[in-house]
């Protein structure tokens, strides 16, 4: 297994996109912290950028990478290797490269400027989101042979998780404004890893006081250790389930 991961990582490092991504994150994080005197404000701006940029880059890069590796995959499938091993190695290789890029790009600045519980939560959420969106990219890429279509699906999925889902939630909130929706909101947030990440970070920031009664419900749930463990578990599911589904599809795929 390690041998394939090794080849995937050397290949990713050779095409330089990941290095540019790292530099971009580094530039963003240092700029944000230097613009604001108040580091917790800086962290808030950084959070908004991380929640948009990280999923976008991860899902698009991974989808394109899988399509570009089609020759590599084809070559390996005819060799004495398990398909599961090939697919998981591909995921692991991308995950290692992109989490490394995130740790260097965001981690260094956060540790230097704001090494607090909020900062650590921001790094953790960013890392888990990286794993989740690579997994979703695997799922998008395995389902269609057409590269343009696959990338289109990936972009749509990103759009759904970062914008459309929030719109739908707002719509539900306004339509059912007369009913108590606080508990339902808790469940709804579990359907979107980006939202969940945002809530987890915001609750560490003490601005949750501004979020009204729903914020209080969130705080009473996500504020506790069990709440964080459950949230972490749900986020891990968001990574594991797409990988498992894509693997099942890949095992039966004709190459």
């Amino acid at each position: 297994m390690n041998k394939i991961i090794k080849y995937v990582i050397t290949d990713i490092l050779r095409n330089k996109v990941v290095i540019i991504y790292t530099l971009l994150l580094l530039a963003i994080s240092f700029t944000v912290f230097n613009l604001e005197d108040n580091t917790s404000k800086g962290l808030l701006s950084l959070m908004n950028i991380v929640l948009i940029v990280v999923p976008l880059i991860c899902i698009i890069f991974s989808t394109i990478y899988i399509y570009n590796s089609s020759e590599f995959i084809e070559l390996l499938v005819s060799q004495p290797l398990r398909r599961k091993q090939i697919w998981i190695s591909l995921y692991a290789g991308m995950a290692i490269a992109l989490t490394l890029a995130f740790t260097i790009g965001i981690g260094i600045a956060v540790i230097l400027y704001s090494f607090t519980a909020t900062g650590i939560m921001l790094i953790a959420v960013g890392l888990v989101l990286t794993l989740i969106f690579i997994a979703i990219a695997l799922l998008a890429a395995v389902h269609t042979r057409d590269k343009a279509k696959g990338i289109g699906i990936a972009v749509l999925l990103w759009l759904y998780f970062s914008l459309i889902f929030d719109g739908l939630v707002l719509f539900i909130l306004f339509q059912f404004a007369d009913y108590p929706l606080e508990k339902a909101m808790l469940l709804l947030s579990g359907l979107n890893p980006i939202d969940m990440g945002r809530i987890l970070i915001l609750l560490k920031m003490d601005v949750s006081a501004l979020m009204g009664y729903t914020g209080a419900v969130f705080k009473s749930f996500f504020g506790t250790t069990t709440g964080i463990i459950i949230a972490g578990f749900v986020m891990m599911l968001w990574a594991v389930v797409p990988v498992a589904l894509s693997l099942a599809k890949f095992k039966k795929k004709d190459l």
């Binding site: 020759e71 590599f72 004495p80």
Partner: protein, 236 residues
Amino acid sequence: MIIANNVTKKFGRLTALNNVSATCLKGQCVALIGPNGSGKTTLVKSILGMVVPESGFITFNGKNIVHDWMYREHIGYMPQIGRYPENMTIGQVLGMMKDIRNKNGNLSLDEDLVKAFKLESLLNKRMRTLSGGTTQKVSASLAFMFNPDVLILDEPTAGLDPVASEILKEKINFEKQKGKLVLITSHILSELDDLVTHVIYMQDGNLLFHKSIELLRKDTGEQKLSKAIASVMQKN
């Protein structure tokens, strides 16, 4: 050695393989012949596990290949169109395959073809810059490199220059003498004449016949394989 049992594969509405059954044994050199789109490559890919059949099964040395993957250790495969990671050089591709297949480092590598095709002088060339013929040479070298018991060659000489294709044919003959099973698909029937011992003829996904070359010659009354096949095709 390789037994296919009622293998059926459909691509959408197209039936690429329709209830194909065949048995190939050690020491045979089997030619897979048929018009374009008759399912030859699909059959070959099913044996390699690259295509998963809808029904039927294939066994390799008595083991069903669905639940096994180690059997591919014994196969050297030369694809019709070799596709390789474009950014890698020939040397890196060869090195990677050695790294993956030669896990314990105890396989004796057969680099005759690498030498015969003079690939050593091209080791630093990237795969995307190679001509079709050179890519075929890389494919052939990889197929023979690990001394496999079974060689599966899909249109091996297509795109090769006469010198290279002569080298390859000699190599195939040499490996056949060692008692390996060789499966070849080809349209150039004249060059199969002195190689093959058995012929499988396919048409529209159906296996029409599978017989030894002596029997085929006797049945059709033709000595040359190309003439024999032509007379079969006219009958259908």
